[in-house]
């Protein structure tokens, strides 16, 4: 498991230059709540036909920051982006709320994990 830190602004360029869709398999987009209203966003990739080779790109952000969308580079990222929007209440370009949550259910359920 290799972890690479990227800045949120350059994440599109980094992943664009890294992601070869015949070599790497996009696993998922993950969010982890940290202290002080911050969270870590992780883009997780694994290599086809390699033994335990996983690469994680991560960026630490505030909840108010806007996360760039990767759905033009990786079409299947669109669904995990919608999940991230629902679960953490962050803003991702081009993804609207309402994949899982209704209006009267608990909003941003995973944000308060550390409380």
């Amino acid at each position: 498991m290799k972890k690479i830190e990227v800045a949120l602004k350059s994440v599109r360029d980094e992943i664009k230059s890294f992601y070869d869709y015949k070599k790497w398999h996009f696993l998922t987009l993950n969010g982890v709540a940290l202290e002080d209203n911050r969270m870590q966003v992780q883009w997780i990739f694994s290599k086809y036909e390699a033994l335990d080779e996983v690469v994680i790109y991560y960026a630490e952000i505030d909840y108010t920051e806007r996360i760039p969308s990767l759905s033009d580079i990786i079409p299947s990222a669109i669904i995990s982006q919608r999940e991230l929007v629902d679960m953490f209440g962050v803003e991702v370009e081009g993804s609207e709320k309402g994949l899982y949550l209704d209006e009267d259910s608990m909003q941003t359920p995973l944000r308060s994990c550390l409380v």
Partner: protein, 175 residues
């Protein structure tokens, strides 16, 4: 005539209100050759308007609430509701999770509770047999004639029905 066939061949409407699939597979397994619920004439149907038994699995999630109630109201009387699985009865392991309404009896009246995680086909068959008894009772209760009004009282030659309406549950005097 309908009464006879309703008892002999109850049709099941199955709705998954957020369960883990375990109970749903067991419903299929119960319909399949080993347990063969179909030998009792039970058929799994997709149409609420033709079904007699409403088989619900899963604690009610927020988004499936309206569908659950809607399906229930679309079913014709008499109908029996079976709650299949622990989480359907009480919420089970999902109790107190934020998107879950612990158990279906918050929304619709339940006649038979079948416990188990996942409820085994034997239990399911027992539940359906029990539901058939209740269905028969309900059929009888529906077909029994009842009166809406008591004898009309007449004062000074004017027939007055104002005070003669029967309240809910009030015994008909002639019974």
């Amino acid at each position: 005539m309908f009464r006879k066939y309703r008892k002999k061949s109850p049709w099941i409407l199955h709705y998954n209100a957020g369960s883990c699939n375990g109970c749903d597979i067991e419903i299929l397994a119960a319909l399949a050759p080993k347990y063969d619920l179909e030998r009792f004439g039970v058929i799994n149907t997709g149409n609420p308007k033709q079904s007699d038994i409403f088989l619900v699995t899963g604690p009610v999630t927020f988004r499936s609430r309206e569908r659950l109630v809607e399906l229930y109201t679309q079913m014709p009387e008499p109908k029996v509701v079976i709650a299949l699985g622990s989480c359907t009865c009480t919420g089970g392991v999902f109790r107190d999770m934020y998107n879950v309404e612990d158990g279906i009896d918050r929304y619709i009246p339940v006649d038979v509770y079948v416990p188990g995680c996942a409820a085994s086909p034997e239990l399911l068959i027992d539940g359906v047999v029990k539901a058939l008894e209740i269905l028969e009772e309900k059929t009888k209760a529906i077909e029994k004639p009842f009166r809406l009004f008591k004898e009309a009282s007449s004062e000074n030659g004017i027939i007055n029905r104002r005070h003669s309406a029967l309240k809910v549950g009030e015994k008909d005097e002639e019974d």
